[in-house]
Amino acid sequence: MTTHRYFEDFEVGQRCSGEPRQLSADDPSDLGHFGPDALTALFEQSGGLLLDASWHYRAPIRAGSTLHFEQTVTRCRRTRGGENGVVTRHGVLVDEHGRTVREGSATVLVPARGEGPDPVGRAFCTPAWAEALAARLAGDDRFAAATETWDGTIGLRCGEDEVHLRVYCGAVIQAARRTPHGATFTLGASEPAWTELLTGPDGDFVRHAMTGLFDVRGSGYEYLRLTKVLALLVEHARELAAEGGAA
C-alpha cells in the first residue's frame, strides 16, 4: 500500500500488514511509540495529505508486547472537482495474542491520474452500487420468490452512506438515496464491517450479524422476516465486489 500514489491505485478491501515490533520490556517510554501522533504517522507512511484521523483505545499495551499494524482501505471517493480522490483506511494495532489494542481510521487526499468513471462494486451503500446490486437481484429467482408478497423498503447504511432499495412484490423497483416513505428497516454498520463482510474471507451474513457489528433501525420484525433475503443480498454484493465493480 505504501507505493500507491494516485487515487486509482486504491481499492476498498486492500489490506496490508506492518512488520511486528517488540516493545522494550524495561523501558516504559517505548510505549510512546504508539501514542496518537505515532499512530497517525503509521497511516501517513501510506501517502496522501491527511484530512482526518481518529484513534480509539481498545485494550492496554503492555511492556514487552509484540505489536503489528494492519490497515484496510474502507472507502474511496473522487472529489467533486474530479482531479483528486479521498481515501479512508481503517487500522488496527494487534498484540501477540491477536488482541486489538488500538483501532482507528485516517482519511487522506490523493491526486487522481484520470477522470473516471470509477468502479461502483465497492462503493457500498451508494446509489450507483445499489443500482448495480438491484440489476443482479433482478436475475435471481430466489430473490423474486422470497419477496413475492413483500411491499417495503430495505435501507442499507455503510458509515455515513445510506441507500434504499424499494421492493414491491418480488422486484426492486427503485434504488436511491431516499425513497418516498423511507425505509421499513435499515441495516447499518461501519465501513470496516461492510468491507470485511463483502471483501473478506467470511461472507456469511448471519455470522457477521451475530457478532454485533451490524445494527437495525426501524421494524425489527420485517428485518427478521427478510433474513434469507439479506443473506442473498450479501451473496450478490460479494460477487459484485469481486467483479472489480464494473457497473
Binding site: 456469511d204 455470522r207 451475530m210 420485517e222 427478521l224 422476516r225 434469507k228
Partner: protein
C-alpha cells in the same frame, strides 16, 4: 442394534434409545433438537464398549411435552435426567451433552457428583449463556417470530465450524429445522439464565469441558473459567469446529471414547 422404549419419566412419556452393553453413557441433545443428533455416534460408541443411552428431553423429538409445558429452567431437565438414570438403573454413568445438554451435564455433575463416572460438557459454560432474554420472551408469541425456518437454518450454518464441509453443514442445518419453536425458544431462555457456577468447586466427578473455536454462542474465556473452577477439570478447544461437535466431527465416537477414557474412573 438400537432398542427404543417409551417410558414414563417425571410425568412425561419419554422416548429413550439404548444400544450396547458396558459402561453407560447418557447423551444429551441441544436446544429444540432431539436424540437424532447422536445418530452417527450411537452404534460406533456402543461398539467401543459402552451402553449408549440417548433420550429425547421432554417436549423434544418423540417424547411427550413436559407436564408444565415448555421448560425454561435447565435444572428441570437435570432433575429429569437424574430420574431417568435411576429408572434405567444406570450405575455411575458418564454424561455427555452439547449446548443446553452441556449445561445440563454440568448441572448433573454438581447434583450427582461421585454417582457419575464423569461428564463431558460441550459448547457450554456454567454461567448464563449470552443471549437477549427480552427478545426471546417476545418470540414466544408467534406473531413476533417471523421466518423461523430460515432463521434456524441460517443461524445454524453461522455457528457450524469452518472445517466442516458445506454438505455436512447443510445437513446439520436442515435437520435442525425439525423443532417446535415454543420449545426451542424456552430452551434458549434456559440457556440464558441457567447458572451452576456456585456449585463447581464441590463437583466430585471428573469433568472435561469442550468447545469449538468457531462457536459464536460462546465466550471461550468463560468456557475456560468453567473448567478452571472445577477441581481437576480438563478443557479442550476444537479448532475449526462450532457449536455442534458431535454432528460436525467425523468419527465423533472415537473422539468421545478418548475423552471418556481420559476421565479415568469407570466403576
Amino acid at each position: 442394534m438400537i432398542e427404543a422404549a417409551y417410558t414414563d419419566i417425571g410425568g412425561t412419556l419419554s422416548y429413550v434409545e439404548q444400544s450396547g452393553t458396558g459402561r453407560p453413557v447418557l447423551c444429551l441433545h441441544t436446544a429444540g433438537q432431539s436424540g437424532v443428533q447422536w445418530r452417527h455416534t450411537t452404534a460406533a460408541l456402543a461398539a467401543l464398549g459402552y451402553r449408549v443411552v440417548v433420550p429425547d428431553l421432554p417436549g423434544h423429538g418423540r417424547s411427550e411435552p413436559a407436564p408444565g409445558g415448555p421448560v425454561t429452567d435447565l435444572g428441570d431437565y437435570a432433575a429429569w435426567c437424574e430420574t431417568l438414570i435411576g429408572a434405567l438403573g444406570l450405575r455411575r454413568p458418564f454424561v455427555v451433552g452439547c449446548s443446553i445438554g452441556g449445561k445440563i451435564a454440568l448441572d448433573l455433575a454438581v447434583r450427582m457428583g461421585e454417582r457419575l463416572a464423569g461428564v463431558v460438557a460441550m459448547a457450554a459454560e456454567a454461567g448464563p449463556g449470552h443471549i437477549g432474554l427480552a427478545g426471546l420472551r417476545r418470540e414466544l408469541e408467534d406473531v413476533a417470530a417471523p421466518s423461523r425456518a430460515d432463521r434456524t437454518h441460517l443461524g445454524t450454518l453461522a455457528v457450524v465450524g469452518r472445517k466442516v464441509t458445506a454438505e455436512r453443514a447443510g445437513l446439520i442445518a436442515t435437520m435442525h429445522r425439525r423443532e417446535d419453536p415454543a420449545v426451542s425458544t424456552s430452551d434458549l431462555l434456559g440457556w440464558g439464565t441457567h447458572d451452576v457456577r456456585a456449585g463447581l468447586a464441590r463437583v466430585r466427578c471428573p469433568v472435561h469441558v469442550v468447545a469449538g473455536a468457531d462457536d459464536l454462542w460462546l465466550d471461550l474465556a468463560a468456557v475456560r473459567a468453567t473448567a478452571a473452577a472445577v477441581p481437576g477439570a480438563r478443557c479442550t478447544i476444537l479448532d475449526g469446529i462450532g457449536h455442534y461437535p458431535m454432528e460436525e466431527l467425523e468419527d465423533f465416537a472415537a473422539t468421545l471414547h478418548g475423552w471418556l477414557s481420559g476421565l479415568g474412573g469407570t466403576r
